[in-house]
């Protein structure tokens, strides 16, 4: 069984990258591989609550996050240093890590795929 980190750094609405990264995470979990997700940079936008994209703007990818627990995909991380302003609320599904915890987390995996 592999131990994989999917690290999302791209904006969820700038293309298909994030959608296909989440697809990969779900397939790995379906095959009973251990998968965790990290978000930084523009990728943090996926964790914002109260998103309401239209069909034209892109698929509501954040809704996929709510279903992740059924795949045992319950480890989602973001660094405290990149927390957005108070106005943008972050989903409670994600854990905020200190700089040291973030650095330690990034070294824990056999495979890291960054999208």
């Amino acid at each position: 069984m592999s131990n994989t980190l999917i690290h999302i750094t791209s904006s969820p609405y700038s293309g298909l990258k994030v959608k296909e990264a989440l697809d990969l995470a779900m397939v790995l979990a379906t095959f009973e591989q251990k998968v965790e997700l990290a978000f930084s940079g523009a990728g943090i936008a996926l964790l914002h609550q109260d998103q309401q994209p239209s069909n034209e703007q892109g698929k509501a990818l954040f809704k996929m996050l709510a279903s992740f627990e059924f795949y045992d995909l319950d480890k989602l991380y973001l660094p405290a240093s990149q927390l957005p302003s108070d106005e943008a609320k972050i989903t409670s599904l994600a854990s905020v890590l200190s700089d040291q915890e973030w650095t330690d987390m990034l070294t824990r995996y056999q495979h890291t795929f960054r999208f």
Partner: protein
């Protein structure tokens, strides 16, 4: 060491497929390493479009991958979901979607992400090219 390559950058907007090819050749040339397979995901699946026509005075990246596959028996897998979404269609998918033609280039195969999972578990290292 046994390697697999995971390529997900576009052959037109990045050098991911070029760099992966260079890396694959280095593995094959090496005495101590082996290449088990190459898995193309996201825009990298466009490498398998048999309808793309390369300008004659430019390096033919698709042909280079095909030659590598033929000469060294390296499996080139394209993620089926990513490929079909981008119009890379095998004969089988052409029939499934009732299309008039197929365009999957020779030596490439459409496979599920399970193939990538197998490569990850079978190989010592998976190198990602984005």
């Amino acid at each position: 060491m046994l390697y697999a390559l995971f390529v997900h950058g576009s052959p037109f907007q990045s050098k991911a497929c070029h760099s992966a090819l260079t890396f694959a050749k280095a593995i094959i040339k090496s005495q101590e390493h082996q290449l088990k397979g190459v898995f193309f995901y996201q825009d990298a699946v466009l490498i398998g479009n048999g309808f793309s026509q390369n300008p004659r005075d430019e390096f033919d990246l698709q042909n280079a991958w095909q030659t590598l596959s033929k000469e060294h028996n390296i499996e080139l897998s394209l993620c089926i979901a990513a490929a079909v979404r981008r119009g890379i269609i095998s004969e089988q998918e052409s029939q499934r979607y009732e299309l008039k033609s197929a365009n999957l280039a020779a030596e490439f195969k459409l496979e599920g992400l399970g193939t990538l999972v197998s490569l990850m578990n079978d190989c010592d290292k998976v190198i990602s090219f984005k």
